[in-house]
């Protein structure tokens, strides 16, 4: 492998990893405070991409405006999903909410199939993204760098919210003990809604960028990236934002580099993440940045 190819692969890994990271943040935030694997997250990701497609092709909105509208819509959708399908189950056994989220995931995916059909569609890309920069033998699409930079910005913004604002304090309180947070006057439902809003907005952002990077969309597009991002979140230590980002990037590298170095394994690409997951759960269930929770007898 030439150094140029390696750099090309590294850049691709970074882009893919950053996309995983953005999705993983949503999983990790919701799991951190509700102990819920939000299966519907991957469908929010998919809908984010579709909303832009619609905004541009149906309502002829300028691209940036369509993006903004999509993020706002999906944030609202995330809040609605929580309100309807998860909030009534706060006192139920933990798995009930998980089953509900599996239901919501299938529901949104199939609603998308009903309305948009299961065929892939090409998406509009702003022109400036089509112009590759050529550095020596390395070809760089602007999106390749755009995504990682944006991811870091989002992460910093989130860390600010979580550690420097009152809402963030609420989030941290709920993640420690939801009952006590009620008693301490935290507006639990509001904080959880905000969490869903932020997580869903980020999922939409990554869905939109995913559509730009691999320029087509279809209703099932969220499933595999969603699983992988969740795995990235577990790998990084569920509940930790930094962990989600690091986990996402590492997963991106593992995936692309393994295929680059061992082309024979390309067919098994989608299995890597799950093998990593099982390994992490067995040997370090708390992940890279997670805190240990003791069972009380």
């Amino acid at each position: 492998m030439t150094p140029e190819m390696f750099i090309q692969h590294a850049l691709n890994s970074l882009t893919l990893g950053s996309l995983y990271a953005l999705i993983a943040i949503g999983y990790t935030m919701v799991y951190g405070i509700l102990r819920l694997i939000n299966f519907a997250h991957s469908e929010i990701f998919m809908l984010g991409a579709y909303f832009v497609f619609w905004g541009v092709s149906l309502f002829s909105l300028p691209w940036p405006l369509a993006v903004a509208a999509s993020i706002v819509f999906t944030a609202g959708l995330g809040i609605m999903v929580d309100r309807i399908a998860y909030r009534p189950l706060r006192d139920a056994p933990r798995i009930s909410a998980l089953i509900s989220s599996i239901g919501v995931s299938f529901f949104l995916q199939n609603v998308a199939i009903v309305f948009f059909q299961a065929i892939p569609r090409g998406v509009y890309r702003p022109e400036w993204m089509e112009q590759p920069w050529i550095v020596g033998a390395v070809r760089i699409l602007p999106i390749t760098l755009f995504v990682p930079v944006l991811s870091v910005l989002f992460m910093l913004g989130l860390l600010y919210i979580v550690y420097r604002t009152k809402t963030g304090l609420g989030m941290r309180a709920i993640s420690k003990d939801i009952e006590t947070s009620y008693l301490m006057g935290v507006n639990v439902n509001r904080v959880i809604a905000i969490t869903f809003g932020i997580g869903s907005g980020l999922a939409a952002a990554s869905g939109i960028m995913w559509a730009l990077r691999y320029p087509q969309i279809q209703p099932m597009m969220g499933t595999i990236p969603g699983f992988k991002a969740f795995i990235a979140a577990v790998f990084g230590g569920i509940g930790s934002i930094q962990g989600a980002v690091v986990g996402g990037v590492v997963l991106g590298f593992i995936e692309i580099m393994t295929v680059a170095f061992f082309p024979d394994l390309a067919g098994y690409r989608d299995a890597f993440a799950f093998i990593l997951l099982i390994g992490v759960l067995l040997f370090k269930p708390t992940g890279l940045f997670g805190a240990r929770v003791e069972d009380k007898v």
Binding site: R35, P88, I95, S96, N110, Q117, A118, G267, F274, L281
Partner: protein, 355 residues
Amino acid sequence: MNRGTLTILNVLAVAALGLFIWWAQGSLDGYKIQILNLIAVNIILALSLNLIYGFTGMFSLGHAGFMAIGAYVCSILILTPDQKDTLFIIGGAAQWVQDAQAPFVVATLAGGLVAALFGFIIGFPLLRLGDDYLGIATLGFAEIVRVAATNMTSVTNGALGFKGIPAYANLWWNFGWCVVTLYVIVRLLKSNTGNVLKAIRDDETAAKAMGVNVFRMKLLSFTVGSFFAGIGGALLASLLTTIDPKMFLFTLTFNVLMIVVTGGLGSLTGSVLAGIGITVLLEWLRVVENPVFIGDFELAGIPGMRMVVFSLALIVVILFRREGLMGMREFSWQAVGSKLGLGGKPGSGKGGLAQ
């Protein structure tokens, strides 16, 4: 009611089922028979998942994986060498795949046993995990099975899968296995071992303090559950006569989970009833997805509509009737007896089919 009476009643029930199958075989059209077949297979799958999740409290999302294993093992054993020659167009089949051959009953059993073996092996590391992590890890296992099935071309024929699998799985086989599954699981749950499984579901810590080797019992339940999932997969392969990796997506597990949750976690009766009801509904809703002709006017079918309805139904059940159809109650002859005023002690609602 004493044991003798109950045995007679159970034998009569099985005989009635036999009579019904005999009648159905002769009088119903192919479409209805197919639905009956699917009912039997779905009940087997639901019972096995209920054992794992409803009775032992292990949230497993790996059913599609075990079914795939059962389906592939069984198909390889019942496809004829000639069929294998024509199927494996890329690179040919591995020698042992080419040579493997067995009668249907052995092939089905082998499917179940290999699935059970996998359940045992992955249970070792995975069953130490708590509920939702176990769910996602078993889901991961199912995905790995699927990816492997796509890539191990010399064994599974890759993405093309198998076509023309001999259609041995008729009503007799399917309902026969269904009765066997029900019998074994009822006996298991009725024994004190069954009480222990339910104890683990209710409070793992207390079970440990009572001297229960929790891990071993979980492994037992998981292995038995995977065995019957494998059997279900094997029957399904011969029933549908075609399999490929795409068939064993998460959706398949979702359908089984839907039956178990709707019937009631921890109720075998519920799984049987919901198995019947949901299979019929699933087939009935297939109509929605196909084009409809009214005179010369064609209404386009709506792909995806079926799952929209079903996922919505699952959400509604989990939100408004979490205990499902039956809660944890079971059918019992005692309860029927006391309803009909035939004396006998009023059932506590915890009697059982094969008591």
